[in-house]
């Protein structure tokens, strides 16, 4: 697979690999995503976008340059206190793995970050991970982030990202730390396509966290706890869809985490605020989400682990070979996969054939009556 190095959200040639509930694989242009939908389905996306969470600055005690990456918050409305990763000198041009450590930090240390300033409140059992407090009123913090902050980015995209590179057409509140990039696949035309299939569309707000810290030990702590909010209208849309036997299609892992967490008490998605803390992986029983549209990511990440709740290891391995063979592009500006939750254990069909004829694919779902 090839890392997507151009920050283009919807390249016209974007590819989509569909893994259906029997493990069958189908390739199609991503713009034909709505072929997968049936009347009565509900597509749920994350309407959060990333705040410009990378802040260049100086560690006041030592005068050493640092880069602060805001990485976590306690609630959607929290604007002062953040979990943050701190790097030494440098920026996204170096791979995070190669970034120097920050100077030795201790509680009470001051950081000057352009027009903003912050105090390290606590160290969080890793040399790079701290809890910090930004100074000043919330509006001044917003203005400072909007003017001085840069989007968090990684070395595989060589050009500096602008805010709009990660701001999808449907992006609403800038409360996440990295853009929920599965949503890059959606634009206003796609929404028309979803409706024309007789499917519905809803959103929730989830503060997608950072995907990599550059440190294996720290990466193992990902994802951090992520606050989310589900509106009453989205809660009702999920309930309605399930009552009528429709499928819930999540756009991205953040939507899976929020919906499954909100339903963890009694199997119903409760509207309101929550903190997604659960780990979703091979052993997880998904109660709400029937399928996920997501980016192409390497094995070993927490993202990849979540996909194992949808498909078994063998199917994912087979899919991986297909992605490699067909030159799918990885990372947030890359191509996409859509994975339907596997049919219940035992009743599983293993069909290793790759269906390339779009019309013949998924006869039970695509040709459902309109």
């Amino acid at each position: 697979m090839i890392p997507a190095s151009q920050p283009s959200q919807r390249p016209p040639d974007a590819k989509l690999l569909i893994i259906d509930k029997y493990g069958r694989l189908t390739h199609m242009p991503r713009t034909s995503f709505d072929n997968f939908l049936r009347p009565g389905d509900l597509v749920v996306a994350n309407d959060a976008t990333a705040l410009p969470a990378s802040l260049q600055g100086v560690h006041s005690d030592t005068g050493c340059p640092v880069e602060v990456r805001l990485a976590g918050r306690r609630s959607l409305d929290e604007m002062r206190d953040f979990t943050a990763i701190i790097f030494g000198a440098g920026d996204f041009h170096s791979r995070t793995e190669d970034r120097p450590s920050p100077p030795r930090l201790k509680p009470g240390d001051r950081l000057t970050l352009g027009p903003l300033s912050a105090t390290i409140e606590r160290l969080l059992d890793h040399a790079r991970l701290v809890y910090l407090r930004l100074d000043g009123p919330a509006d001044a913090i917003w203005a400072g982030l909007a003017r001085h902050g840069r989007p968090i980015q990684y070395a595989y995209v060589p050009v500096p990202l602008e805010i709009w590179d990660g701001w999808s057409p449907l992006a609403g509140r800038p409360v996440a730390f990295e853009p929920p990039s599965a949503g890059f696949a959606l634009d206003w035309r796609t929404l028309e396509g979803i409706r024309s299939r007789g499917a519905a569309f809803a959103t929730l707000t989830h503060t997608a966290g950072i995907s990599s810290t550059g440190d294996l030990e720290l990466d193992r702590k990902l994802p951090f706890d992520e606050p989310y909010r589900i509106s009453k209208s989205t809660g009702s849309a999920v309930a309605r869809t399930r009552a009528h036997g429709g499928r819930i299609i999540a756009i991205g892992t953040t939507v899976v985490r929020a919906l499954e967490h909100a339903a963890s008490q009694d199997g119903r998605v409760h509207a309101g605020d929550g903190l997604a803390t659960q780990l979703i992986g091979p052993g997880s029983q998904l109660r709400i989400v029937n399928a996920i549209l997501t980016g192409v990511h390497e094995a070993g990440t927490s993202h990849h682990q979540l996909l194992q709740a949808f498909a078994d290891e063998e199917t994912l391995r087979r899919a991986q070979k297909e992605l490699d063979a067909m030159g799918y592009r990885t990372h947030e500006y890359g191509d996409s996969v859509l994975i339907e939750r596997k049919a219940c254990e035992g009743a599983e069909l293993m069909l290793p054939t790759v269906v390339s004829n779009q019309d013949g694919f998924l006869a039970d779902s695509v040709t459902a009556p309109r």
Partner: protein, 258 residues
């Protein structure tokens, strides 16, 4: 699923919002430090809305915020492309989303007014940058927040301030009139395209008001004969609350009158 902890969803925010329909409206107003814009800031604050205002002058923004506690001030230029996303980050961030966007900031073009043949191209471009491109870019950047509001509450509104010069060909008003005509048509097409998403686009001609812009255009006019911006602001706010309340299907042009 291994739950490290379960947080009981907190419904208080939702309930508070539902209990005060319109009371907690999140409203953003461009050109909010003088004329109609400032009157709109005051009108919506008086109606209990959460208001963000955008204007170029830092001192004026600070003054309005100091005089109107609770208002969120954003210093930026809507005609500048690079300012749009910083504005959108601050609006959607500070208000926690957006229900109403009022594209009020306007540029007259050449001042004093000039015949088209005498109009400096830079003046013409500036009028379009402020009156057409700025509202297009800002609306586009905030469309996600507006449609999220519409899905949640039933309707969101973008209100673009128009003028009778958008309809009538007044000699001397070429840059302003053509840009406002473009804005009016932009409003109509947005409204057609986004009705299905629940976002209503409304164009309002507030009439001739006693504002700094009018004084610039008609220096020897009689202010006493002009409409007070407070009156126009009340009418604009009424149009918005009525649109939200009734979810009027045809959003374009609420009263094209002189």
């Amino acid at each position: 699923m291994q739950d490290k902890s379960i947080v009981v969803p907190d419904a208080t925010t939702e309930e508070a919002r539902a209990a005060h329909p319109g009371g907690a409206l999140r409203v953003a107003i461009t050109g909010g430090t003088s004329g109609l814009g400032l009157a709109l800031v005051r009108e919506f604050l008086a109606r209990g809305a959460n208001v963000a205002l955008v204007a170029r002058g830092a001192e004026r923004v600070d003054r309005v915020v100091q005089e109107h506690p609770g208002a969120h001030g954003i210093v930026a230029d809507v005609s500048a492309k690079d300012d749009i996303y910083p504005i959108a980050v601050q609006i959607a961030g500070e208000l926690g989303g957006l229900d109403v966007l009022i594209n009020n900031a306007s540029d007259l073009g050449p001042a004093p007014l000039a015949l088209l043949g005498d109009t400096d191209c830079l003046d013409f471009e500036r009028a379009f940058a402020t009156n057409v491109l700025g509202p297009f870019r800002l609306t586009k950047a905030l469309l996600g927040a507006l449609t999220a509001s519409a899905r949640e509450n039933g309707a969101a509104v973008v209100l673009n301030i128009s003028s009778d010069a958008a309809i009538n060909a007044y000699p001397g008003w070429g840059a302003y009139g053509t840009s406002k005509a473009a804005l009016l048509h932009l409003t109509r097409i947005w409204n057609e395209e986004l009705a299905s998403e629940g976002v209503r686009f409304v164009s309002v001609d507030p009439g001739d008001m006693d504002t700094p812009m009018h004084a610039l255009a008609v220096p020897d006019g009689n202010p006493a004969a002009l409409k007070r911006p407070e009156t126009a602001a009340r009418e604009v706010a009424d149009a918005i609350t009525a649109t939200i309340a009734r979810c009027i299907p045809t959003g374009a042009t609420e009263g094209d009158r002189r």
